[in-house]
Amino acid sequence: MAEMDTSGGGGHKKGPGVKKSKKLSTRVDLTPMVDLGFLLITFFIFTTTMSQPTAMKLNLPKDTDKPEEQNKVKESGVLTLLLGKNDQVYYYEGTLAPDASNFKSSNFKEIRSEILSKKKSTDPKDFVVVIKPDQDCAYKNVVDMLDEMLINDVKRYATVEISPVEYQLIQATEKSGGK
């Protein structure tokens, strides 16, 4: 079974009187070799990595206390995204209304269209996305959101610490269970 057949035509009968020379078979059973090959393949597949980890660049703005050095943005061009726990995203455009009427909740699937529509409706000069992760938000969400900026080709975005008012709003929304 499973040999390399190297002996020539062989097997035709020899007439009487012809001396039988002892032929050593050159057939090698290759089955163990195949076994070994596949064993090594599985070993290499399991112990190695194919994909190199990639890195995402992020530049931080310099903190300045002097108001004249700070970047000014038009309030109307700002889209603020608040990241809550359990992959929840909340957002509002411009400034937060005192009665929080423009505070809306969303999720990672729907936020893309929201960013795009805001991007289309505002002047590219004024368009800024502000990302505010709260205390319960996972690191994954922050990276996902920064990734979303890359995907949607948002030129200007910043991560800013969440304000207590916004955090309370998120808490209240979470308590009431959604919308």
């Binding site: 980890p53 990639t54 660049k57 995907i151």
Partner: protein, 218 residues
């Protein structure tokens, strides 16, 4: 009546071809892959569409694990920088570390994840036992006692004149405050450029970036 002869087929198969395939695949895998580095810290990184490979040399890596504990490590090839870092920390915090303890920090695959008060103890642990200890993590969330600031200051001085690659490797489930603490430590040291280690992911079709990439490739 002639007997119907059932032709007996041989069950032996020529294994040569299969053997060829097996070894071809084997050589392919050996040549294309790289061994997984033995990672002491299990961290599942998030995905991103970024296609740039993470740097390997001159790296100062900040790892944030599931529970938000922060660890610091320096790439293995930068032994002299590692020594400079631990010397600077030793002097600035007057920890009175011994030469052996400093050598432990310069060892390959070393990482620290403890407050300064426990650093001496950690560095005296034999390398085989390091994985067993549960480190408390470098304190970062407390703004008054953000010890990563001191570590980064030491690292910045050690890499003076060279390009230091600042990497943050965070776990999917780690909470934001630790990351915020790390960023604050960067800002305090004026290190405003850093990179986050991620797993590559395809760009979703139909998005802006997808369109841009397509135009670039044209």
């Amino acid at each position: 009546m002639p007997k119907v002869k059932v032709a007996r087929k041989s069950t032996s198969i020529d294994m040569t071809a299969m053997c060829d395939v097996a070894f071809l695949l084997l050589s392919f895998f050996i040549l294309t892959t790289k061994f997984k580095p033995s990672e002491a810290l299990a961290v599942v990184t998030p995905n991103s569409v970024s296609a740039k490979a993470a740097p390997e040399n001159d790296v100062v890596l900040i790892t944030i694990d599931k529970e938000g504990r922060v660890y610091l490590s320096v790439s293995d090839k930068n032994t002299s920088e590692k020594r400079a870092i631990i010397d600077a920390i030793n002097t600035s915090k007057s920890l009175n570390l011994t030469a052996a303890q400093k050598a432990a920090f310069a060892r390959a695959n070393s990482y620290v994840g403890v407050p300064f008060s426990q650093l001496g103890g950690l560095l005296s642990t034999p390398p085989d036992d390091i994985k067993k200890i549960k480190m408390a993590g470098i304190p970062v969330t407390d703004t008054l006692n953000n010890q990563l600031v001191d570590w980064l200051l030491a690292a910045k001085q050690a890499f003076e004149g060279r390009k230091m690659e600042l990497l943050v490797k965070g776990d999917n489930d780690s909470k934001y405050p630790s990351f915020q603490g790390v960023i604050n430590a960067f800002k305090k040291n004026d290190l405003l450029k850093f990179q986050m280690v991620t797993n590559p992911e395809g760009v979703p079709q139909g998005t802006e970036l997808y369109r841009i990439n397509k135009e670039k490739n044209k």
